[in-house]
């Protein structure tokens, strides 16, 4: 369950970044850099703007002020994986079909869909409709999507939501593998992730 492909070195820098959602400015004056192999953990109370910052980084929202840049990556083609609150899982498709859909939309190139399901511990139920899954299992399926297409940047919004301790360890291992391969990640979490990686930064957002 390792990602063998290495990514080119890249770096995410933000200077004086302020995020807004609609009419509301949520986080201001953010300064951070995340290098290849590094992860930035976003902390802060509900409504502090963690999700908004992630949405800004993935380009769905425009920053209210300041700037950020991903350097060292071909920004013409898609390079970001996003794991949001919503899992984008279709209950009427089987697990394998769900993954195959994302593999053909995003271009595949990573783990095969059975291997990815195996990696998140859903191997035995690959042929089942996703509607039968529990919340935690659905979360695992959403994580498997990140494995079928290698992309250097992972933006994770509460990746361990609905997962048990074992699931948390699995998420941490997947992130570690991603960082080892030279990727970078930004993750909003309430709970501490049992990461082994050394390059862990933390950013505290205040409402």
């Amino acid at each position: 369950m390792t990602l063998r492909q290495g990514f080119d070195p890249l770096i995410l820098t933000a200077t004086g970044l302020a995020c807004r959602r609609g009419e509301r400015v949520l986080a201001e004056g953010l300064e951070f850099t995340v290098p290849s192999g590094g992860i930035l953990l976003l902390k802060g109370a509900n409504g502090a703007g963690k999700t908004t910052l992630l949405m800004t980084l993935l380009g769905a929202l425009r920053p209210a002020s300041g700037r950020f840049a991903f350097e060292g990556v071909d920004t013409e083609s898609a390079f970001i994986h996003f794991l949001g609150h919503r899992n984008a899982v279709k209950p009427h498709l089987t697990l394998a079909e769900n993954l195959a859909f994302w593999a053909s939309v995003n271009g595949g190139g990573g783990l095969s869909s059975p291997a990815a399901l195996e990696a998140v511990g859903l191997g035995p139920v690959a042929g089942l409709d996703a509607g039968y899954l529990s919340a935690g299992q659905t979360r695992r399926l959403a994580l498997a999507r990140l494995l079928v297409t290698p992309r250097p940047v992972w933006l994770l919004d509460e990746p361990t939501a609905a997962l048990d301790t074992q699931g948390e360890a699995m998420v941490a291992a997947l992130i570690d593998a991603h960082l080892t391969a030279g990727g970078l990640a930004v993750a909003a979490t309430h709970l501490p992730l049992p990461l082994r990686s050394a390059r862990v930064g933390e950013l505290r957002l205040d409402p």
Partner: protein, 253 residues
């Protein structure tokens, strides 16, 4: 991916910053009111006392003096909205959003008035209040589009987000309006004998044109005045909403 902040320091954006816009454009209000009132007095005097009755249309020509200006505004206001929509989409200009929103109900009102006066003019000339003629029908469709836009504005909670979406729809409508006009004309000629009286027959004498133009200017001035007031109100409404939100947050903390 490289996202630059749009600098808000250029003189143009500073002049058009919502608060400053209200401050400087406030001074325009009184002159605009005076111009509107003067034009209306002049226009009405010309319409009732200085203009002859038309040899063909008789006294009903006087209805034209309110019908033509409102019909003109029904399209002019859509033009204003479309230009503002481009401003919203291309330059993300906050005043363009405000202008778009303030114009929609005004446009709907003037379009409704154009239909109303058209019906009252049609009764003595055509013998019926409503005729499914190309002009009236396309104005009716325009009114429906205005209603749709007003409804769309009201459906959104977050007005900043609403602006860009309404702008997209406004422009889709703008592309459609000529098509609607054309199709309705085609439809009307197909289904109607050509014996109906048409306005574009005789050329109008100057004695009718003068009051007509004065009234067109009067109504346009009225629209500009009301539009400006509407924009000021909208700026204040947004300020009120953001202040209330801040109060709520402070209250919650």
């Amino acid at each position: 991916m490289n996202v630059e902040n749009t600098s808000k320091q250029s003189w143009w954006t500073r002049i058009a910053h919502p608060g400053q816009f209200v401050a400087w454009s406030r001074r325009l209000l009184v002159p605009l009111w005076i111009a509107t009132a003067a034009l209306f007095v002049l226009g009405l005097w010309l319409a009732f006392f200085a203009s002859p009755e038309d040899y063909q249309m008789g006294d009903t020509v006087r209805i034209m003096y309110v019908h033509v200006p409102t019909a003109w505004l029904s399209q002019f206001v859509y033009g204003v909205m479309s230009v503002s929509a481009i401003g919203t989409l291309v330059w993300r200009h906050p005043m363009a959003d405000v202008s778009m929103k303030a114009a929609a109900p005004l446009g709907a009102t003037f379009t409704a008035l154009a239909l109303y006066t058209g019906a009252l003019w049609g009764r003595p000339t055509w013998g019926t209040f409503w005729e499914w003629d190309g002009r009236m029908t396309s104005t009716l469709v325009l009114l429906l589009i205005y209603f749709g836009i007003v409804a769309l504005w009201r459906a959104f909670d977050d007005q900043l987000r609403a602006a860009r979406i309404v702008a997209v729809f406004t422009l889709v409508g703008a592309v459609n309006i000529p098509i609607i006009k054309f199709s309705v004309d085609w439809w009307a000629t197909l289904h109607q004998p050509a014996s109906v009286f048409r306005l574009d027959g005789p050329t109008m004498p100057g004695s009718i044109l003068t009051p007509l133009f004065v009234m067109v200017f009067a109504f346009t001035a009225l629209f500009l005045t009301l539009h400006l007031i509407g924009m000021h109100t909208e700026v204040r409404r947004r300020r009120v909403m953001s202040l209330e939100r801040r109060l709520a947050q402070r209250g919650a903390a």
